[in-house]
């Protein structure tokens, strides 16, 4: 299961809308506890696939290292990634699967149609190695933010 709060969920979807018609991408930081990936923050990353940004994304390793380092300093791990599918369903593609290597992490995809975010789905990359990996549909729990007390 993937758990995230409303603010993070909205930020992921808004990023997809802002990047349209190109794919957006980012990193989900938080904790993985008993098979549940709990997201505390979503960090935007640049899409370095400028040659084909409408249907491809890639995060530069240097940027990922930096985000990972900053996450560790805040006590958070990389628990997943997100990207958008402009004018395409929120389902993983063959390319998504071939390029997925972070076993145990959540891959969140938001479909963006004509600039407006539609479905957001998550897929858990299961398996113990590159040879037996698989994507599984993953439940997404969005928690409402508690109202601030006066």
């Amino acid at each position: 299961m993937l758990k995230l709060n409303e603010q993070v969920y909205d930020a992921i979807r808004r990023h997809g809308e802002e990047a349209y018609p190109y794919e957006c991408c980012g990193v989900l930081l938080g904790q993985s506890v008993d098979g549940v990936n709990e997201v505390e923050d979503a960090v935007r990353a640049g899409n370095v696939r400028t040659d084909s940004a409408r249907n491809r994304y890639q995060i530069a390793p240097q940027e990922l290292i930096k985000i990972q380092r900053q996450g560790r300093e805040r006590g958070m791990d990389v628990v997943g990634f997100y990207h958008s599918h402009p004018d395409h369903p929120a389902r993983w593609s063959k390319t998504d699967f071939a390029e997925a290597h972070w076993l145990g992490c959540s891959y969140v995809i938001t479909a963006v149609e004509e600039g407006v975010a539609q479905s957001t789905n998550s897929f858990l990359l299961t398996g113990t190695s590159e040879e037996n990996k698989a994507f599984e549909d993953e439940a997404v729990e969005v928690a409402a933010l508690e109202a601030e007390r006066c």
């Binding site: 491809r56 994304y57 390793p61 240097q62 990922l64 290292i65 990389v78 990634f81 593609s93 290597h101």
Partner: protein, 91 residues
């Protein structure tokens, strides 16, 4: 020196996010890592013994594939190696 282990590989490093090794070169550091945690080896290297194409290893902010001396690059205790699987995809 420190070697930073990414989330998916920690199951093979006794759940440690950082492994400390004594080494004078990048190659020695990676050898020390897989000697300490042998299960990591097949996840980092192909059967031919080369780094898997999707596994990136950075010495501080430099990809070791592009360092002039590659595995023979000298390291000190202040350096950090980051193992970082690639992240990409698309519809």
């Amino acid at each position: 020196m420190k070697i930073l282990i990414p989330t998916p590989l920690r199951v093979y490093s006794d759940k440690q996010d950082t492994v400390s090794v004594n080494a004078t070169t990048v190659g020695e550091a990676l050898d020390a890592l897989t000697a300490k945690h042998p299960d990591l080896k097949k996840h980092l290297y192909s059967e031919e013994g080369k780094l898997r194409s999707f596994v990136n290893v950075y010495l501080n902010d430099e990809d070791i594939r592009y360092l002039p001396e590659k595995d023979e690059t000298k390291v000190s205790d202040k350096d950090a190696l980051s193992i970082i699987p690639s992240i990409a995809g698309g519809c």
